[in-house]
Symmetry: C2
Subunit: 393 residues, 2 copies
Amino acid sequence: MADPYIKDYLMTAGPTPLPPRVSQVMAEPMVYHRAPAFVDIYARALERLRIPFQTANDVLAFASSGSGAMESAVANLVRPGEPALVASCGKFGERWAELCEAYGAELHHYEAEWGTKVDPAEVERRLAESGATVLFTTLSETSTGVVNDVAALTEAAHAHGALIAVDAVSALGAVPVRQDEIGVDVVVAGSQKALMSPPGLGFASVGEAALAYAEESPGRRYYFDWGRTAKGQRKDPPDSPFTPAVGLFLALDVALGMIEEEGLEQVFERHRLLGRATREAVKALELELFGPEDENANVVTAIKVPDGVEGARVPKVMRDKYGITIAGGQSSLKGKIVRIAHCGYFGAFDIVTTIAALEMTLRELGADIELGAGVAAAQRVFLEAGVAAATPA
Amino acid sequence: MADPYIKDYLMTAGPTPLPPRVSQVMAEPMVYHRAPAFVDIYARALERLRIPFQTANDVLAFASSGSGAMESAVANLVRPGEPALVASCGKFGERWAELCEAYGAELHHYEAEWGTKVDPAEVERRLAESGATVLFTTLSETSTGVVNDVAALTEAAHAHGALIAVDAVSALGAVPVRQDEIGVDVVVAGSQKALMSPPGLGFASVGEAALAYAEESPGRRYYFDWGRTAKGQRKDPPDSPFTPAVGLFLALDVALGMIEEEGLEQVFERHRLLGRATREAVKALELELFGPEDENANVVTAIKVPDGVEGARVPKVMRDKYGITIAGGQSSLKGKIVRIAHCGYFGAFDIVTTIAALEMTLRELGADIELGAGVAAAQRVFLEAGVAAATPA
């Protein structure tokens, strides 16, 4: 029989699909990183990075994964032997704890249950108890789909005189970070999620208080030293202390130009629609969302695998048979959930396609699923909103 | 008048020009880093990386610049308060010293004069004097074109029971590193020079002794921790602890395939020809090479700017008028030398073109230069060698 599933769809929370013009620019000939042809683009991309961070800070850029940007926060803010508080609710939050230990902090780790949000009141208690001067936490926890209330967490940190560093790797450009409005001291992110760019760039948007705190205790870092990169980027024209990942910057600049063109509020609105459509589809299929239903959880939708279905087979059948790559659960959630990402270059019919394939897959694996029911629920969300708002630029 | 200089030529030591098929592969759609479509290429690229390193080691790969790979060596090998020896002869060697200081080493720094080689006998004396357990040095010093005798330096280090870590960022794939034959403990490199790939990947080929030494003293590092990356890469299939720079790996795999196809010895022979042709052209123009004439200095050729010519204008006219990007001198050599790179995807007519433009530029800036004399000398080198050997695959 002919195979009608010849196309591939990438529905993971990083790397995410690239818009064709982002891909294409990387096929351009290489340029010297100190030639005007690159320097102009580098300067523009750095300027444009402020848009998704919603900040006037210099956004520091590193050739690294998002974890490298997280490491920059720990390397610059942790002082050996001094207390630091990590507030986590999933796998990526735990990375903060591992980093703090590697850098010799007196680690205090508040582990909220996976699938729940970090509780600001508990954070307050832990800050008071530990005397931590820095709080590390997560905006969108990619392993569970949970989006934390960073405004409340920032208030908690500042009430105790602590700085707050937020991992927004999967959130940036999908949900509002409002760094300057909220007063978040440090926001770190990566290129390969909602920023619609290839993996390989890490970012740290660092406020003056955090920069000053880091400068008070130099050493123990070099590549990820904020001061070194800030000094380079503040030159006119800006200069990177190390060879920048030229091709990735060309891609980032095009992608950020698309976000600017679509308009940041429209980008957020599109993600809200994609998230809502996915959640409505899940509910219409009488499947269970993992974690509380949350109108802000618009980065990744985590779905409990129904009883009687072997969880690990769902992403496998989705990919091998239907060409659609979604993610399963990580660590303790292995085989228990699947995760559909919608952060970045995603539109309405990516959700329709993925839900349709999920329906077919679950049915094939023995679940009692009504074909088309999830799709119809998603369609209704898009129709009610009007199609234009759900279409990326 | 019509401008006949409408084409651009990149003649810098990183980023270097990309072969068209390396550029093209980055325009392919993004893939998930845990999907078989990527994992197979990741595994193959890691395997192929052993070729230019001339090693059986696992070559550890980081999403970072080459400086990140250097930092990995310092973060894993330096123990706070313990002596480390840096033997430098230029700007990139000095980076080792800055890194060692950032990581709290008791730094001993032997600074050979810029334009000379590090002297193995002096290294021996410094090792004996300092009791350093690690020697950090450079294979090809990009700021001056000097290529050090790593075999002799390795012998010196091992005679004193020290490990040796070598920066081969600009050398790897241009001149033989012979890591296993010589017994170099650690070789670090980057993607963007002779490996004909875009910037953004750093590599560390780490022998068992160095890995074991690093493991004895864990902590103070995370992203660049060798043990963490080695553990991931040694899985079957290999897995990166952090999101790998997917597109850059696709490019690297194609580029390494080209090196495999051309044959490593042929690649080295091509670089020998390019280096020799450039040096012969310089001599025919009665210009002076910076540093000793060295048949191994086949990565970058540094040329003294002749008296009466304003040095900073040479690269400027070369680029702005003729479209050819070469590098000037750095730090104390600013305005005193120019540097023509020939490491990576370079062929005979890149040298011919660059020498022709250099002749025209120097003449324009007032030097007494015989047009075509340098070109003819380069032509003779290529003709004597036979054209085939000088053509990249």
